[in-house]
Symmetry: C2
């Protein structure tokens, strides 16, 4: 029921995902009449693979996590997570209120043993490919132990996505040992002693985009600011390029020729909009699609959930945590 474009674009994304992946089954959770109406406009859909589960309430973008937890026992978000907890589905994908989704996920699914707080991770494009950046805003104040847990989770997630011996780094304002705040310095000490983790040290903001690490760890305040400012900057650059190209006849012609190139670039540079962000550290797979992602974005979020199911990410994470955590 969530997302800036509402269930219409989510249903569209689901229909597209079902045709792309013949083994996929989807359950839509929300107001049945509305969902059935939206599905009805796609008569070719295989209804054996697309079911609807009723939920009377909806969590709005303005609802506080506490309201989601205590005030709406039959919200679509909660019902979806309960289906996951009860083994009726293998992953939950939502485009709704992030804070509510995190609070409900922790409450309904619980964290893995050894994990205090789940983290939110997304793939960020770099000069050399992608890096997994976490936390993206779920945890504002983090201790060194939390950052250590994020590093372990990010490393396992990167492995699941196909990276061999992922290079794990802490985001910092310099690469020397003396740089940074207490949490970061202490987390570095913890990570230096961790067996089986390819910890490479500190990385700076520009080093992240140069592709110096496969996993970049920071607290949720810093990660959220980095992600949103990057999105804002990418949008500003796109706007300026358009404006430059419109200035005179020559640049208009150049601009018209360059347009398809620019479109590809823009799509590549808005990863959080286009790919989902995963919640790591829960006893279950939860993927958050960007609220303004649209059809394509929600489809990518479903695809990320599929990979995590195939790779059995929570179970892999559980095994690695048993090895690594004290």
């Amino acid at each position: 029921m969530g997302g800036d474009f509402g269930p219409r674009s989510i249903v569209q994304a689901c229909i597209a995902s079902l045709s792309a992946t013949p083994s996929l089954h989807l359950t839509l959770v929300g107001q049945p009449s509305l969902l059935e109406e939206l599905i009805a406009s796609h008569p070719a859909v295989d209804r054996a693979r697309l079911t609807v589960t009723a939920a009377r309430e909806t969590i709005s973008m303005d609802d506080k996590p506490a309201t989601a937890l205590r005030g709406k026992p039959d919200s679509s978000m909660r019902v979806a997570l309960e289906l996951l907890r009860d083994g009726k589905v293998q992953a939950c994908v939502s485009a709704g209120n992030t804070g509510a989704l995190m609070a409900l996920s922790r409450h309904v699914l619980k964290t893995l043993p050894g994990i205090d707080r789940p983290a939110m991770v997304a793939a960020i494009p770099t000069q050399k490919g992608y890096c997994q950046l976490l936390d993206l805003g779920a945890n504002v104040d983090c201790t060194a132990e939390h950052l250590f847990q994020f590093a372990v989770m990010g490393s396992v997630a990167a492995e699941a996505l196909g990276v061999t011996r992922p290079r794990v780094a802490l985001l910092n304002i310099g690469t020397e040992d003396i740089k940074g705040n207490q949490q970061v310095k202490l987390a570095a000490t913890l990570l230096q002693g961790a067996r089986g983790l390819n910890y490479i040290g500190f990385v700076e903001g520009d080093g992240l985009y140069r592709g110096e690490a496969d996993v970049v760890v920071c607290d949720g305040f810093v990660g959220n600011i980095l992600l949103k400012s990057s999105e804002g900057l990418a949008t500003m650059i796109a706007t300026r390029i358009e404006a430059l190209f419109k200035q005179n006849l020559v640049s208009r012609v150049v601009g018209a020729l360059a347009l398809p190139l620019m479109r590809r670039l823009q799509a590549d540079l808005a990863p959080a909009r286009h790919n989902g962000a995963s919640f790591l550290g829960l006893q279950g797979i939860v993927v958050k699609s960007h609220g303004s992602a649209g059809v394509q974005g929600f489809q990518s979020a479903i695809a990320r959930a599929l990979i995590e199911i195939q790779e059995n990410l929570p179970q892999r994470l559980r095994g690695r945590l048993e090895d690594l955590l004290p």
Copy 2:
């Protein structure tokens, strides 16, 4: 003596600034023989406006602030700051080690009454013009009181640069009151009660680039990560655009046509390289030019110092602090 390109490009920038501004006098501080040799290759320069002051030592980029403070009593950086403290010059511009420059500035010049820690500020381009972002890395752990002081200093700096009633915002991970860490929430309370300050609330990373505020306040850890990741992203985008344009014959032709447009954009988007960053809150004007700025960048840093001299920024700041601080 500092900067990635050394004194050669600094001397070049000085010569260019002297011809651009007939009222400007410059004093170069460092190894006299080297500096005189570099000046000698510009025979047209008006030596009445370009003097040299000797300093035997140089602070390297790897020197710790403690080394700068205690181990090198005759460093070019320290001697330049002492000239400023003694009223022999009106501002100090350096492309050297940032941490050393900040430590020496505090030690030699002292902070203004009411300021615990100086902050580093730079103008960041936005969709609507520029915003002053501070702190950029001088203060890693900040209390709410520090953030409040940064807000006051940023507002006065924006006014000096020509902005009427600058909109001051705190950088946060959401715009609702409940969002953020303790320091940010407490700083919001302090700012809401400040007379004569146009505090507009929280701004997010994307809001900064949308131009929602004229002054954006954060701790030095967050500001440094934001600034460097923005530089890294802008570089990555420029690299990708170049690569896109090289793919085939059509895109090569488009790329050749678009090149001058792209160059202008790149120049506009690397503000920290192109404009200097000011240290605010000191009893004197200190501008830090980016180490890799080159001739143009150092010239811009000198231009920023000139504006701050004309606007008598430290004195304005002192007056405003007396009005605003408890």
